[in-house]
């Protein structure tokens, strides 16, 4: 390249969402995470001679739910195929996965970009498949162990169109899908446990070019942070390669979170020929329209719908609505608060997004296990709303509620935090403060307006912060000007 040109990044994501079924996709073994190796695998999962897969209807229902939630075409007929390759954690020597006829096709999801603009991302397809087991390379003295607990766990692989143009967009989309699958209660979204993971197909092309560049598939992306870093690294690597006169090879690359880089795993030439063919042990999945409609009736209010309602009904900003609807549980909490302090939706939003979220984060607990439930928080907000306490003191009360689990009213009473709104009491305090600070008073009256704050501070100090700030302001202004 002779002159420096601008490059466009093109990204498509393949998300693997582990479906929250109780048993596996083709066997009755449980799917619970974290059990001792090979204790949650039955003969079907172990690929024993003679055993046969039987499809878990719950996994199908969940896939349909997802399809409907992204406005996709839900196929009335889908087919399981075998993807053949040898690996120790793949007991049958093939993975059962939908190939040519997936259950969900042509969906879309809207994301909000940093500048507030909205963008629609296409979902090419979503298909059902079984997970493989795990190879354990430690503690086996140079040998490898196999844990087949995860083998046969149902996955929904959600494949996006190459519509994403930056790592940030990719993360926004991923978060959106993450939110959605949890709303639908089809996936717990736990990225550490691998319940929600993603591969990224990344390529670059000269800005304005129509043809896509050669892509690399990055695997092993199991946190939002890693995904952004990995994509940015990969984009930089590809641009540097091309600008240095090289070409990008189509290959699979692994992200190393310790080194913050991607490295080649296998090239296209080394890729397996998976010899897909329809699995003769399983019949095509045939869904009638009535079934699909019955699933539709189980759809909850989706994040976008909820956010729209918050902006329209509660007057929240798009940003606030987005934050509060990021999880179904947070939205439920917020609405439970709002129901008890009607008319103070913005106040409730600020507290849920601010103090409450900070406290939850600090303690690492989910909103469903919050130490202050919605009713108690509403109790505190009611005292702010009726001017019993100031917002500043309310934070102290909140802290104590969080630590000791008391109601706001009990704390306000016990600590005598009730706001002073009696004008004569405030005036009396102001008089005392003015008398105690003659020099400052003289300076103020000779034009040093800045000292107003000094007097506010003194009044609040004397009243231990309990004086109503608005009243203090009014009364001070009047008295100071003499």
């Amino acid at each position: 390249m002779n002159e420096r040109m601008t490059w466009e990044t093109v990204i498509g994501l393949e998300i693997h969402a582990q479906l929250a079924t109780r048993s596996k996709i083709f066997s009755s073994a449980p799917t619970a995470y974290g059990a001792a190796p090979n204790t949650q695998a039955n003969l079907v999962d172990l690929g024993y001679p003679g055993v046969l897969p039987v499809l878990n209807g719950e996994a199908v229902r969940m896939a349909v739910k997802f399809g409907l939630a992204v406005g996709a075409h839900v196929a009335q007929r889908s087919v399981f195929a075998r993807k053949n390759y040898f690996y120790p954690d793949l007991p049958k020597g093939y993975q059962i996965s939908q190939y040519e006829q997936p259950i969900v096709a042509q969906g879309r999801l809207e994301i909000v970009l940093d500048d507030g603009a909205r963008k629609t991302v296409g979902i090419t397809r979503a298909h059902l498949e079984e997970d493989a087991g795990k190879s354990l390379h430690e503690d086996f003295h140079g040998q490898s162990g196999i844990d087949l607990n995860r083998a046969g766990t149902p996955l929904l692989e959600i494949v996006s169109e190459p519509d994403l143009r930056s790592a940030k967009e990719a993360v926004a989309y991923l978060k959106k899908v993450h939110t959605l699958v949890r709303y639908l209660e089809i996936c717990d979204g736990n990225m550490q446990e691998g319940s929600f993971r993603c591969d990224a197909n990344v390529s670059v092309r000269p800005a304005g070019a129509e043809q896509l560049g050669t892509r690399c598939e990055i695997k092993n992306l199991n946190s939002f942070r890693f995904i952004e870093k990995a994509i940015n690294y990969e984009v930089a690597r590809q641009i540097e390669l091309i600008e240095g006169g090289g070409t990008v090879r189509q290959e699979t690359r692994l992200y190393d979170p310790d080194k913050g880089e991607t490295r080649a795993l296998r090239s296209k030439e080394e890729a397996n020929d998976y010899r897909y063919f329809p699995d003769p042990d399983l019949l095509p999945v045939v869904l009638d329209a009535a079934f699909i409609e019955s699933v539709r009736t189980t759809l909850p209010e989706l994040p976008d719908e909820k956010a729209a309602r918050y902006t329209e009904k509660f007057g929240l900003s798009l940003y606030d609505a987005g934050v509060l609807t990021a999880s179904r549980e947070l939205g439920d909490y917020y609405e439970a608060v709002v129901a008890r302090v009607p008319g103070h939706e913005k106040l409730a939003a600020n507290w849920v997004m601010g103090e409450l979220s900070a406290a939850l984060n600090k303690d690492g607990v989910e909103v469903t296990h919050s130490r202050i439930d919605a009713q108690r928080l509403a109790g505190l907000l009611a005292r702010i709303a009726d001017a019993t306490i100031s917002g500043k003191l309310a934070k102290e009360v909140f802290e104590q509620m969080w630590l000791e689990g008391q109601d706001a009213d009990a704390i306000i009473e016990a600590k005598g935090l009730r706001q002073i709104t009696d004008a004569s009491a405030i005036e009396k305090t102001i008089d005392e403060v003015m008398a105690a600070n003659p020099q400052q008073l003289a300076e103020y009256r000779s034009g040093k307006d800045k000292l107003f704050g000094f007097f506010v501070g003194q009044v609040m100090k004397v009243t231990a912060g309990k004086a109503n700030p608005a009243q203090v302001n009014d009364l001070l202004k009047r008295k100071l000007s003499g």
Partner: protein, 487 residues
Amino acid sequence: MTELHRLTLAELNEGLRARRFSSVELTRHFLARIERFNPGLNAFITVTGERALAAAQKADATLAAGEAQALTGLPLVHKDIFCTDGVLTTCASRMLSNFIAPYDATVVERLSQAGVVMLGKTNMDEFAMGSSNENSWYGPVRNPWDPKKVPGGSSGGSAAAVAARLAPAGTGTDTGGSIRQPAALTGITGFKPTYGRVSRYGMIAFASSLDQAGVLTRTVRDAAMLLAQMAGFDPRDSTSVDTPVPDYVGGLEQPLAGLKVGLLKEFFEKGLDEESGRLIREALRLYEKLGARLIEVSLPNLPLSVPTYYVVAPAECSSNLSRFDATRFGYRCENPQDLLDLYKRSRGEGFGDEVKRRIMTGTYVLSAGYYDAYYLRAQKVRRLITDDFARAFREVDVLMGPTSPTPAFDIGAKVDDPVTMYLNDIYTIGANLAGLPGVSLPCGQSGGLPVGLQIIGPHFAEAKLLNVAHWYQRETQWHEQVPRGYE
């Protein structure tokens, strides 16, 4: 007592219920015959004598208590392709020569629940791949009619055991003729039900879309008795079909008047042994006498069934046999150097030549760039063959023809020529591709060796097929012929 092996399953059932003999006596009698004759026949891989006697004792107690099930106390052998809990299950392969199955196949479970006593597990072609029972890690099975001849395959062990009266009945599997052809070659009755009629759970898979369990018996009545217990939906097999099981035994005597019998034109063309052809025509004349009308039908795509089969079956087998990777069960090579070495040597040493040939063929036809030309095209032809049958069954009730082009051939005659060996299944494969039920009945002898009449029916027409086949045995004695030395 010395006569017990001459009785059919139905007669033995009656005798047990009338307390003319006990299940223990019966079991001892057959175990003694196995001990005496099996060394010459090699029909068994495992004889489960102790277990059988224990089961027989229990059966006698059940009979004494008046709580007998349909088949209580009747001895039977299982093809070694069916998993049997706690018993060696080898599929006649070195790969599984150390495999003790941890569960019962549905077929085994249902027959056990009906009260049968398993005498042992029978020899077969490795993983059911073969038509002569020469492809066994445990050595070839010999035909009781002539020890130089093959018994047919792949269910050759069950066929030889029943023909030699070492057991009154045996289970088998039929992927391309593996029940019907050995039944024909050993002069017994072999019944393959509709695909989906009997559960495949616990039956070690060869070609999943073609495999079907069935029985090898002396008579059609015996087959009906066993099928009545084996058939029916199994929630563990998605391809098993949930339709009611009719009263197979009760329907045997239905009159045949007005029966429309289709003569498969393609079955009487070149390649058929002359004497066999004559015997089949004679059998057809008998049906005419019984009131049937013979109608010649043509299945134009049927000649494509062998090549179609040898694409579809190996494709499925190449994938089905991938699970034998020496990591969880089965044969493992000595001192593997690394993972690839473990795979290569364990599979290289564990599988026999024919199995490897089919895995390679199957891998090839599913490969990128060849899939459309082979696998997909074969599936299309399979559809055409199925349509041919469906068209024929709009005109006729059953189709009749030979089971095998020739009687039993010499051991070793075709082992080096797989294509000639494959052509041995030319008359049986069509029913598998179309998923149809079929039966083979002994209908005479050519050069001192049994010849089989094949009858094929529409999907789930087992009752009709058994009814039609039973009439032949009412009118003839071919099924009563016993190979010399085994009387």
